[in-house]
């Protein structure tokens, strides 16, 4: 055999490169390299990132077989592994409440685990064992469909930077104290929580993502917040709570986020912000806010319109605005308070940096049109205004267009795009 031609191409590369390659392989392929040659026997065993999913096992229709196969594979891999494990990810619909997961977590808690992602299946939710709370070096925790019950002595994860709880059963006090107990927390995502009233104290928080039926949210101490996305669903319970509430939600939620750059709201978010007495002038200016996206804004509700106006008039550097409407067209046509736009609306505000506006799901109701008119008249740097009518509105489109034509534009180069589906 010719020595030069058959020289091993890859085995003598530095271990850091080998790990770089093996980390990019599905875990099953990575582990199988152990039988390539004697040098490769344990190259995979020091990988610090282990990502498991259903591709690790041979798929079959027999659910039990797949479950057993997956459990065996993970157990054996952990058993043969050498050295610290910094990331462990398990994504599967086949396992829910399984005693092996407890043992894996125990093993991981002894091996310096830093990032833990558990995405488990529907069914009985896995109850996170107490050893998880001993993982002192945890920097990222993602739990899907688990029960999370910290012991009373648990103070928090001191190194945690990212927390993502999706469909997790946990008491509100536990969540609040968990958030407060993670001083380095930068990214927080909570989804599918029922009737949660939450106060968030996280001095280093930069990214916030909330989705669920929230009764109340108060951002008490989040001065560094950069981006947030909030989707609030409604139940009768919450609606009632909204009726009776008198605290100014806008200030409680957006009063302490001066560094905000991106804001995205869905469903009942603007409604939530509109609750409570208007305390007049907003104490802060959103000097960094560049992108605002508010979905499902009800233009028949004057209070919601006021929320939108309040937000954008206090954002001198706003560049991009996207609003989707959700107007009850019958109620909206009646349009009380149309004089507002002539009389009370702040006329001296100019959106000096506003470049792109997208209005979607427009029904052409009076307040929507007035709002568009207002934007066009006060945006000297506007480049594009795109308007997409709501799919249910067929007849009103011509009227919308006629009105649009009349509106004065502060920006000579503004293009108005009417997007028909």
């Amino acid at each position: 055999m010719d020595d030069v031609m058959s020289r091993d191409l890859i085995s003598d590369l530095p271990q850091s490169i080998i790990e770089s390659i093996l980390t990019r392989l599905p875990i099953r392929d990575a582990v199988r390299t152990s039988i390539l040659s004697s040098k490769w026997r344990y190259k995979w065993a020091t990988l610090t990132q282990l990502v498991f999913d259903e591709k690790c096992v041979i798929l079959s229709n027999d659910r039990c077989k797949v479950e057993d196969g997956l459990v065996n594979f993970i157990t054996r891999t952990l058993f043969l592994h050498q050295g610290p494990i910094h990331k462990f990810q398990l994504t599967t619909t086949h396992l829910q409440c399984c005693p092996d997961i407890d043992q894996w977590l125990l093993f991981l808690s002894r091996n310096d685990i830093k990032e833990l992602v558990l995405e488990l299946g529907e069914g009985e939710w896995f109850r996170v064992p107490s050893c998880l709370f001993n993982c002192k070096k945890l920097t990222r925790l993602d739990l899907f469909r688990c029960e999370f019950d910290p012991p009373p002595t648990f103070k928090g994860f001191l190194c945690l930077k990212s927390l993502n709880l999706h469909q997790v059963l946990v008491s509100p006090e536990a969540i609040e104290s968990l958030i407060s107990g993670c001083p380095l927390l930068e990214s927080l995502a909570l989804s599918y929580f029922d009737s949660l009233a939450l106060t968030i104290r996280a001095p280093n928080l930069k990214f916030l993502c909330l989705e669920g039926e929230f009764k109340d949210i108060c951002l008490e101490n989040t001065p560094l917040l950069v981006a947030m996305s909030v989707a609030m669903y409604m139940t009768d319970d919450i609606a009632e709570h909204f009726e009776q509430s008198s605290t100014c939600n806008f200030n409680r939620f957006l009063g302490g986020v001066p560094r905000l750059e991106r804001l995205i709201g869905h469903i009942y978010f603007t409604k939530f912000l509109s609750i409570g007495d208007d305390l007049g002038r907003l104490p802060i200016t959103y000097a960094h806010l560049k992108v605002v996206e508010l979905n499902q804004v009800s233009f028949e509700d004057m209070k919601e319109i006021l929320v939108v106006l309040r937000l954008i008039t206090n954002s001198p550097n706003l560049r991009e605005l996207q609003i989707s409407g959700s107007s009850n067209t019958l109620a909206a046509i009646d349009a009380p308070d149309l004089d507002f736009w002539e009389d009370e609306c702040p006329s001296n505000c100019t959106f000096k940096q506003l470049r792109v506006v997208r209005m979607t799901d427009m029904s052409g109701v009076p307040h929507e049109m007035e709002f568009i008119k207002f934007l066009l008249a006060n945006s000297p740097a506007l480049e594009t205004m795109s308007i997409s009518p709501c799919v249910y509105v067929m007849d009103g489109r011509l009227n919308m267009l006629i009105e649009l034509l009349r509106f004065r534009r502060a920006s000579a180069q503004a293009e108005i795009l009417f997007i028909q589906d």
């Binding site: 191409l9 590369l13 390659i21 582990v31 039988i35 040659s37 043969l80």
Partner: protein
């Protein structure tokens, strides 16, 4: 860019020298894209002229350097869109596997992480989904694992020399077994030795757990060969169970991580213990196989029991520190320089262990 480099209006060049001695000059902004070159220029002031050309690491030959510079030349231009860059990368890595490996190595030595990531991804794509034979062929890997090794790898967590010893003894024993079966075909003799050996090995592996018992068993076993077979299996199985329970167990026989491949679990484990046994008694011919226990008088037997127990305890505690002590215990008086890495030393150790046990 540091000012003193950019002071001239004319285009500046950096001089690079590859391991084969050839020197070339490269546009400054292109070369400085490599962190290693950047470091040499800024920290050490090298590369400004032919005489002070920067010596590139050995892994960077002229062909690889040319490729890397092409990469740098494209990517150091600031205005390019992500799409353009991705498109370039995708075309760039279309090369044969040998060059891809060389390029990875060269890029790594120049600390050019984006290129290392790109080539690693490409190599991962090549490996993914292929069978071991295919992968060996592509990368010219030697198929040097024995069949047994492929099936039963032993875990060596802390580079424990005991486990390394066992691994080597397993492999060696497997070879010898095959040869012996071809030549001699004396199964009975083997079984007898295996018998005793299993118990003794178990006793010193398990430390204090029933070692004297084990030795007594072996004595009675010798007399009745029929019963031996059954007892051999049960004791071996118990041994496996004990091993698995004991957290500091010497031997954790694990299945291969190969999913779906059949592993000869029970049989394999049992035969392993026998294998180790036979091999520890390195030179069969020196041993009087069957009857040593019977000939030793009781007082001496007791002494041996105690020594075995002691030895077991020591073996399971501090390994390197105890090594000298253990070695000076038996016949060999002078302390031996025990290199845990050499094959020769392990072999010597094996025969010492043997002599210690059996005078």
């Amino acid at each position: 860019m540091p000012c003193w480099i950019c002071s001239q209006m004319m285009k500046s060049y950096i001089w690079l020298q590859t391991a084969d001695g050839s020197i070339q000059q490269v546009e400054q902004e292109v070369a400085m894209f490599c962190p290693m070159i950047c470091h040499e220029v800024i920290q050490k002031g090298m590369g400004s002229s032919k005489n002070y050309a920067i010596s590139l690491p050995q892994r960077v030959n002229p062909a690889m350097l040319s490729l890397i510079l092409d990469y740098c030349r494209f990517h150091q231009v600031p205005g390019r869109s992500n799409k353009e860059r991705k498109s370039f990368d995708e075309k760039f890595i279309r090369m044969d596997t040998k060059r891809l490996c060389e390029l990875t190595s060269a890029a790594d030595s120049l600390q050019l992480k984006p290129l290392v990531d790109l080539t690693s991804r490409a190599l991962a794509r090549i490996i993914e989904g292929k069978s071991p034979e295919e992968i060996r062929e592509i990368f010219h890997l030697p198929d040097d694992l024995t069949e047994e090794e492929k099936l039963e790898p032993l875990k060596n967590t802390t580079d424990d020399p005991r486990i390394r010893l066992l691994n080597r003894l397993y492999a060696k024993k497997r070879k010898e077994l095959k040869e012996r079966q071809k030549l001699k075909n004396i199964e009975v003799e083997e079984e007898r030795v295996d018998d005793r050996s299993v118990d003794d090995l178990l006793s010193f592996i398990n430390g204090d757990n029933g070692d004297s018992k084990g030795i007594k068993n072996s004595k009675s076993k010798k007399k009745n060969r029929r019963r031996k077979d059954q007892q051999k299996n049960t004791s071996a199985n118990e041994a496996i169970k004990n091993h698995n329970k004991e957290p500091n167990g010497l031997n954790q026989v694990c299945h291969s991580a190969e999913v779906g491949q059949k592993v000869r679990a029970g049989v394999g484990a049992t035969s392993n213990l026998h294998d180790v046994e036979d091999d520890i008694f390195d030179n069969k011919n020196e041993l009087d196989d069957g009857d040593i226990d019977d000939e030793i008088d009781p007082a001496l037997k007791e002494k041996i029991d105690r020594e075995v127990e002691d030895f077991a305890r020591r073996l399971n505690s501090d390994w390197p520190e105890r090594m000298q002590e253990i070695l000076s215990f038996g016949h060999e008086r002078k302390p031996v320089h025990f290199s845990l890495n050499g094959n020769g030393s392990l072999r010597r150790y094996a025969s010492m262990l043997l002599s210690f046990f059996y005078y």
